[in-house]
Symmetry: D2
Subunit: 324 residues, 4 copies
């Protein structure tokens, strides 16, 4: 577990520490090496000391979870991959299949040759590929909810507005003016307006799910809560489409252990500290649009527990092991 001092990495460490089938042998941190993880995160109760990351001292391990920032992650992934260790990467470094898009939205990719090895870590769409994957690129939190919410409809979407609401943990552990309690409390405001790095990822995966020439409208908003993400998606269907929307979703998700289709509007409390994605679909008579509301916990299904779900699949374990 590399990068265990951030919110997502620390949660992944906790889930693995208590997982019945994995043994967590080391946690590393670039900023907090030498500290105990349960000093930083008492509520996770992982009594390990954070080490510096040194791929040569890892010994015999089967898999590694990397929770480094973009760029730094790719380098660690490359080192681990070279030693034959299967890697789950929580960063964005291997999510975008087109390196030119990555270079435009992030920076020069440090290991472009590995991109095609990576499987996008959304089990509901890539389960089969994950079984054999050596590098898994865990989706961003917003793309997770967006893709799960819209994939069944993707081939029929003419246009979509995705209005996202997220808790503050999504902004990470860095103490900034924007994460100061007094800035967030009793407030709500949009950010990343017109330019957020999850945009190309959403478009890429909606296209993979069947959307044609779709540029989704996406704007996130910061809310006064710690964990949780709600995406409100307003879909205009192609003019000539006549589909049974409810049936589409029921079929697609009938056997999914972590997708809940509901009729009442979902709230993020309903999925707090779980790996569930809770989805409600409303076909709107007034406007002819389809509304899709998808709620996840950004640190769980949006990141860390989804990584464990992927690990379960990679190692042939029951998919819900340790995260239900």
């Amino acid at each position: 577990m590399a990068g265990a001092s951030g919110y997502a990495g620390a949660l992944a460490a906790r889930l693995l520490w208590r997982h019945p089938d994995f043994e967590l042998v080391a946690v590393t941190s670039r900023s907090d090496a030498g500290r105990r993880l349960d000093d930083l995160y008492p509520h996770h109760r992982v009594p390990l000391v954070l080490d510096a990351f040194d791929v040569d001292e890892l010994g015999q391990i089967d898999a590694a979870v990397v929770a480094y920032p973009h760029g730094a992650a790719a380098e660690a992934v490359a080192q681990l991959h070279e030693r034959g260790i299967r890697v789950i990467d929580l960063s964005a470094d291997f999510r975008l299949r087109d390196v030119a898009v990555y270079n435009e939205w992030y920076r020069e990719h440090p290991a472009p040759g590995l991109i095609e090895e990576a499987v996008y870590g959304l089990p509901e769409l890539y389960r089969d590929q994950l079984r054999e994957a050596d590098i898994v690129a865990c989706p961003g939190c917003f793309p997770t909810a967006a893709i799960l919410g819209l994939a069944p409809l993707a081939p029929y979407i003419d246009d979509v507005v995705i209005d996202a609401k997220t808790g503050v943990s999504g902004a990470g552990r860095a103490a900034t003016e924007n994460t100061h309690f007094v800035s967030v409390d009793e407030n709500v405001k949009p950010y990343g307006v017109g330019h957020h790095r999850h945009m190309p990822e959403i478009d890429q995966e909606l296209a993979a799910a069947g959307a044609k020439d779709l540029v989704a409208t996406f704007t996130p908003h910061l809310l006064p809560l710690d964990q949780g993400e709600l995406l409100s998606c307003y879909v205009k269907l192609n003019a000539d489409v006549d589909v049974d929307v409810a049936a589409l979703y029921e079929e697609r998700y009938a056997d999914e252990p972590f997708v809940e289709l509901v009729t009442a509007p979902p709230g993020v409390r309903d999925v707090r500290e779980t790996n569930f994605c809770r989805i409600a679909v409303h076909v709107d008579g007034r406007t002819g649009k389809v509304f899709v509301f998808a709620a996840i916990d950004n640190l769980w299904k949006g990141t860390a527990s989804q990584a464990v779900q992927c690990l379960n699949i990679m190692f042939g374990l029951p998919e819900t092991e340790g995260i239900l």
Copy 2:
């Protein structure tokens, strides 16, 4: 001040109690007659006893603010109007110009004959009519932000998605499962999906501002904060339109004392406990849409302080008196 025991009514009472040019002579309540207003709302510090409403005991007054629920309001308005008292009504009873629409969304209108007397209490659009108005129908909180945010663009809108986020005071003082702290805290969820009473009001006023055949897509969401409303509006312009969006807004709102055009995304904290509506407009290169973000305090500009703004206009006072 009739109906001073609700959130909006109590705030209106406070603003009038401290207003340099008005004298607040009586506060009434249907549910709490006999109690002191500053017992119910210590922070408003209005040391008056709530009376039952009796139009015959009001003595000589020039104006009345009515903050009763829909239906009950119209009856009180009718009684006051009959005695020649100018009335500001905070309810929905005189907002919709088409009684059939009112009857469909609310219930049989108790005083349809007075509808045409009423002026819609949005000073930025109806200032001239307000000067002479005898009945003022104060806008709903969502319509206030929606109309102010979209009026300059109205003639050019082909389609619009309005995603609204509101604090809990908008749900009123009634203690219900939905307003229980534990339901709201760490949560966000949509409500009124597909059917919210502010929909026809928004459509009516966007049409009045020039929109053609527009049915806006509107969904409100409940947030864990007490006061404040943010509307995120995603506008698709008519295909053949070529307008300077920024200039449209600057022109329209150049002289408005309570509309603030800003470039950074507005947060509801920026307008908390004020009569301001803070608006940011973003012309989006990726999607070709125009994004408009409008923030208000739902109890202030969304209701009570806007009522005082209307009163100032009706009585020829400086428009900002007592609310700046």
Copy 3:
């Protein structure tokens, strides 16, 4: 599980539903019979329908958890006890050993004859008695933290001020003016000043732990958070006492699986959704007092998970089963 529609009862149902060694066969509710528990509490994900309580229809069960209000609980306990079913009662009905005290603080006790059968369900103090108990009276949330925080010092206390801070879930599911989001948000205020029903319970158990003639000063405060309780205890020791305070605590709690002694001030986040009680002790040089800070989750260690801890003990299971 009787009374599963309240906060504590629903959580107990969730913990038992997922417990590896117990089978939850029925959930009952007086107010919500016929509804599904996962409709009321989606995040608990207990897919059972609430029944009316009928002791004759329970079939063969080994134990029952009763989460009814005071008074109603005693009646259900009596019925269950009569049929030989071991009962965990979450109410206050069997906590006070002196029926006169109960009658003074609550009301006429409906089943005084059973009081002496009951064991106080605080495992850290009554573990041995719990093994054989037929009726367990689960402690109140404040007494749980107060007793765990002060028991090691009890024989040496001359006077103690306990200032308690609690989240809103402690006030229960009823929607009232006091639990309305707008009342609680951005607020903190004391309640039950001079008269709170947990007072006699705290005094009784501190006496049982060795305190002499002690009437603790206790005042709770309501905070804007959902779960969690922090007790700040300011202890004046008997004048002639010379004890190694730290050693007292370490000895007493060395083998306790759910008591954490820490040096940094504990926060309620550290114990959120856990059965832990986290305690820090500070011997204050300036004032000569001992400060004890004890944090619990009021719904977990303060109620429902402590009940499961008791059940584990009663049935000879590992004490941490299902709650770690």
Copy 4:
């Protein structure tokens, strides 16, 4: 107004900007010179640009408010005082009358010679001295509430425990791990245990109010709210005292415009964004103690609006001008 970029300084700037009798001519900042104050604090709406502090460029001014950190403040105060400008200092630099105590709790005092010139800026206790004061040392936020809450009782106090609860704005604008939203949200914990710089200030002023050899027990706690402070004071009276506690308070505060004596427990919402201190006194039959609960807004009565109250007094204005 020197140091207008912090929370308290910015609020003072806002209050002075709108004050009917003062003209705010300059705002300075060490960290944000060149920025507009209404960029930093949109909701204060003070359209001034922050300058660097240069006492030689201030021109003719009658008074200055200094909101610098401890140490830096004394230097600015000395420069301003030398030029004959009356100064209100919001820092701790001139609060402690005994320089040795200051040196112990803070650091070597930079201008000890001015300490005896300073008047403690608590109008309710030092109104007469404030009229002629050239240097005013505004009290800390906790001492403000503690002294107002306890002064009437001071001569009779044998021992007192003060348990303080404060919102996050009290920790200032610096973004740290402790002020990160995720650290504070759903949490409450003590800080400064056994050692907080407001301790000697509280003891000094209680002594000035008549307390004998009193070392108050004081512990603050951080709460998930932005503004507001509640002090819960548990007083043991001297054994031989027989006083009418209620009468003591009523007499002392009968004519105070900003002290509210109430019977119901005060909440910090009741005084939010006001200069009021709201106090409830309870004589406790069970324990013989007197409980005093005092609520203020830490940024208003606890700092900035109290500074304006002092300015009003210094310049012979009505005491409530601009802050009611």
